[in-house]
């Protein structure tokens, strides 16, 4: 049996009386983009929080490349190759988009010298390409708190990519992005991920995006992974249409 990229075993977590994860098992394999869908409040974001060490499950374990990372803090898991983009973008609000990426790359490279200046880092061009990739090259020098929510989300993804992760977790990557641009951006993003050998997991509500860009889909409902399969199988399943897609349409 080959090692999974990420494996969640028997996860359980509760908030007060609400069960957000109840005996969840989920594996993620290299090279397959997995979409997680499900009704709001089903615990999808909680799952990302557990996988990255932000929350500790009351039971169960998380393995990354075969190593138990359940009790590690987020930064240690990030150092092992997991990056994350957030539903609410987490950026350095007083810095420009470009500076956000340069800060990320200096964290990646572990730079310590107080004499090297941030702008003089050799990865400047690489970062510019990343910004270009997410369609934000034109706002490279604007402070991120002046950008639209959609742009901030894209910069947030670029920051995560700047870490050169093995696995990228994205929470609704295109919410807040104008629907006319969604597909274009996902096209570029998915190609870039493939080129950089990054596997991605994304929580998504837009079934069009799921259908076009996921290799696999997991349905998360009531704290459980209820189903898993190819987008065509899953999106055609009557339960999914009733519980998930129906809700989205409503």
């Amino acid at each position: 049996m080959s090692t999974h990229l990420l494996e969640a075993r028997d996860l359980e977590i509760r908030f007060g009386g609400v069960v957000a994860a109840d005996g969840v098992n989920l594996t993620i394999d290299e090279g397959k983009n997995l979409a997680i869908i499900g009704p709001n409040g089903a615990g999808k974001t909680t799952f990302l929080n557990i996988c990255t060490g932000w929350l500790k499950p009351s039971r169960g374990q998380v393995f990354f490349l075969g190593e138990d990372v359940t009790r590690l803090p987020p930064r240690k898991i990030v150092q092992r190759g997991v990056a994350r983009a957030f539903q609410i973008p987490q950026l350095f609000s007083e810095h420009t988009a470009m500076e956000n990426l340069l800060i990320a790359v200096s964290a990646r490279e572990g730079r310590q010298s107080p004499f090297l200046q941030m702008e003089a880092q050799p990865e400047r061009d690489e970062m510019r390409e990343l910004l270009d990739l997410v369609g934000c090259a034109d706002v490279a020098d604007a402070r991120v708190d002046a950008l639209s929510e959609g742009r901030r989300k894209l910069v947030d993804i670029a920051v995560a990519l700047a870490l050169k992760p093995r696995l990228l977790l994205m929470d609704e990557p295109t919410s807040g992005v104008a629907s006319s641009e969604k597909f274009e951006i996902m096209d570029i993003l998915v190609k870039a991920l493939a080129r950089a050998d990054v596997t991605s997991v994304f929580v998504e509500h837009d079934m069009g995006i799921v259908k076009n860009y996921a290799d696999e889909v997991a349905v998360w409902n009531a704290g459980e992974v209820q189903m898993r399969g190819t987008p065509d199988e899953i999106l055609a399943h009557p339960d999914v249409i009733r519980d998930v897609i129906g809700e989205e349409a409503a």
Binding site: N49, Q87, Q90
Partner: protein
């Protein structure tokens, strides 16, 4: 060890805890509601003490009965609360509720700097000592140990009444419930028509008045001199941090812990007396960063 010394240490600790609690409870009440740490709180304590000691000294010298010391304390507390607390909240804090925490700290720190000099201007550098209230109540013998009624009975009783009074006020009265509502969710409270500004003003006046009362009560037991305000803000912060910011009952327990710890040190390692409250705070915070009764803040992402 001689048991009378143990008893003395306990009594010292108890009366000291009662005084510190009076100040700390105002600090924590204000923080709980306004989410502002009032660095000038220690100055309000000092001014309460100065008012009581100086006015008391003057009227007793003029032949008035020493019993007036007690109403005088309440008057001093009310003056501090209304004449200082009111304007500070109304003119200053009201402008900065939406500003970053660092800035709020700087503003109350500036008020602290101003009030420290105001004390010097009004009362000078010489110490004031006026102990009529303490002498009037006399001594009491407990298990063979003599102690002043004022420190052993009056101070703890006032502190306990304050604690119980605040609890009842916050839970049973309408105003108290309004305060609690604003504390829990300001926007929701405003949306149902609660005037949050009035609640903030009232809370600050009450909290400032408690600091003034703490100073008034402390004045018969110690010399009132410059610098007591600075020491008291640090000390009452130690109590409040040990308990967890915003925890009223917790502040009582932390005050006892720190008061007893301090007096234990007084009788064993007197050099460490001033350090003990901070050592207790540091020890607690090392184990529980949010204090004994605080709950860690979770950030939603």
């Amino acid at each position: 060890m001689d048991y009378t010394i143990v008893l003395l240490a306990i009594f010292d600790g108890l009366s000291y805890a009662a005084l510190v609690f009076m100040v700390a409870v105002g600090l924590t009440l204000i923080f709980g509601v306004l989410r502002i740490l009032n660095v000038a709180h220690g100055s309000l304590y000092a001014i309460g003490a100065y008012l009581t000691a100086s006015i008391g000294g003057a009227i007793f010298a003029a032949g008035f009965a020493p019993i007036l010391a007690f109403p005088l304390m309440l008057i001093a507390a009310a003056l501090v609360g209304i004449l200082l607390g009111g304007p500070i909240e109304y003119l200053l804090l009201r402008r900065i509720y939406h500003k970053p925490e660092v800035l709020q700290l700087l503003v109350t720190f500036a008020v602290f700097m101003i009030l420290e000099d105001v004390q010097r201007l009004v009362w000078g550098n010489q110490p004031y000592f006026e102990a009529s209230a303490l002498q009037m109540l006399g001594n009491i013998q407990v298990f063979g140990v003599y102690y002043t009624v004022y420190q052993l009975i009056l101070l703890p009783v006032v502190a306990a009444l304050t604690l119980i009074g605040l609890r009842v006020f916050l839970r049973k009265t309408l105003t108290g419930r309004l305060i609690t509502a604003v504390t829990e969710d300001r926007e929701a409270a405003q949306s149902i028509g609660i005037d949050a500004n009035r609640v903030y003003l009232l809370t600050f006046v009450v909290g400032a008045g408690l600091a003034g009362l703490g100073g008034a009560l402390a004045s018969p037991t110690t010399s009132v001199l410059p610098g007591i305000g600075a020491e008291m803000i640090v000390l009452s912060f130690a109590v409040v941090a040990t308990a967890g910011l915003g925890r009223i009952e917790g502040a009582a327990i932390a005050a006892l812990l720190i008061g007893l710890g301090r007096s234990a040190a007084t009788y064993t390692f007197p050099e460490l007396q001033v350090l003990v409250p901070y050592l207790i705070m540091l020890a607690v915070l090392l184990v529980r960063p949010e204090g004994l009764f605080g709950s860690p803040a979770a950030r939603k992402i």
